[in-house]
Amino acid sequence: MVKQLDKASVRERIARRAEKEIESGYYVNLGIGMPTMVANYIQEGKQVVLQSENGLLGIGKSPLKTEVDPDLINAGKETVTAQIGASYFSNAESFAMIRGEHLNLAILGGMEVSETGDLANWMIPGKMIKGMGGAMDIVHGAKKIVVIMDHVNKHNEPKILKKCSLPLTGKQVVNRIITDRAVIDVEEDGLMLVEVAEGWTAEEIIASTEAELRISEHLQPGAY
């Protein structure tokens, strides 16, 4: 039954698991799309400062209708508020902060990840190129880069590959992959399966992953 999760539940499962990567005291950049959803699940009591690359440190909740300021948006161009203690700055300062590795964590979406931690998430050849935005900078910025995505594509083909087939966003940049089925770490000598989601077995994860997976001694089955 678990395998029949609808799309929204799959996204929620991934987002909830990704939230566990965030520790109290962290400065975090969340990518556009599913990663932005992770903010909805941050546990009460965790002190977290979210960075938006368009020049805001300390993203608050979405505004009430009466609080909307058209000059205050996140990198996804959505209206936001600023939390108490927030600061504003230019894009140059923002990316200096990012490239300077001052952020603890970035959570990004992915189309493909390779066994060496290469990430492809910005273009599909033959389709209109929209642009990479800040993704190519951010993958070199945070101390830890977590990619969240579906384990397989809509044709049921693996997205975790020996080598990415799509043009890269960054080479050897990913530290951890979180999917609807598993958590996989990128280590020096390859990929390590560390957690398996409820409803899946390690064998099924291996079968739906093109890259070679080693199984951690501390593998957690039914972890989330």
């Binding site: 938006s52 690359e53 368009n54 020049g55 805001l56 909740k61 979405s62 505004p63 009430l64 209708k65 909307v68 300021d69 058209p70 000059d71 205050l72 948006i73 996804g76 161009k77 959505e78 209206t79 936001v80 600023a82 504003y88 700055f89 230019s90 894009n91 140059a92 923002s94 990316f95 200096a96 990012i98 490239r99 290469d118 273009m123 209109m128 190129i129 929209k130 642009g131 990479m132 935005g133 800040g134 993704a135 190519m136 900078d137 951010i138 070199h140 043009p167 890269l168 966003t169 960054g170 080479k171 050897q172």
Partner: protein, 233 residues
Amino acid sequence: MQMKTIYTSFEDAVKNIQDGSTIMVGGFGLVGIPENLILALVDSGVKHLTVISNNCGVDDWGLGLLLKNKQIDKMIGSYVGENKKFERQVLAGELEVELTPQGTLAERIRAGGAGIPAFYTPAGVGTPVAENGEVRVFDRKEYLLQTALKADFSLIRAAVGDDAGNLVYNKTARNFNPMMAAAGKITIAEVEQLVETGSIDPDHVHTPGIYVQGMIEGKQEKRIERLTLRQEM
């Protein structure tokens, strides 16, 4: 105190911009764009522009209006996905596009205004951005050489400006505006409010007046691209 040219019409503010000019235009999405200066450029009919801006507006607002009018020959930016006309013009060969990672774009503009001709950044190594690029290793990590950007004119937006050209921005409307102010040979600032020199605390100035040549006060629509609200509990 050096007084700046204060324009009273947007038409006058952009009249020196000629065909073939390279212009920087501030803003992130539609936030912090010099709305009225862009409208004046559309009316001026100036053509063959090279435009440096993070985005290219939307179909019916911001830089999208210049695009619609086919006034842009080349666009340098990081994300152009909000604009459908873009695709048609690129495919038709009417528009040249140079996509640059956003942090690299910000730093190339900063460098342009700061007298730094080029710099190395990790962004883009191993990606299509690095094709034909110069990669160099520092401390066992690869970096890509990127060159500075400058412009004939920078059109920017600020919340408050004084007669001396000092500018203050509001919230995330700051974005690319301060770096562009410095990287333009001629920088024209569209301000929401023009105040008497001396009324901005020097400690609160975001862009010092030295970077600004002309100013004009105007009223903006401030269109919202993605209104996202939370419900009242």
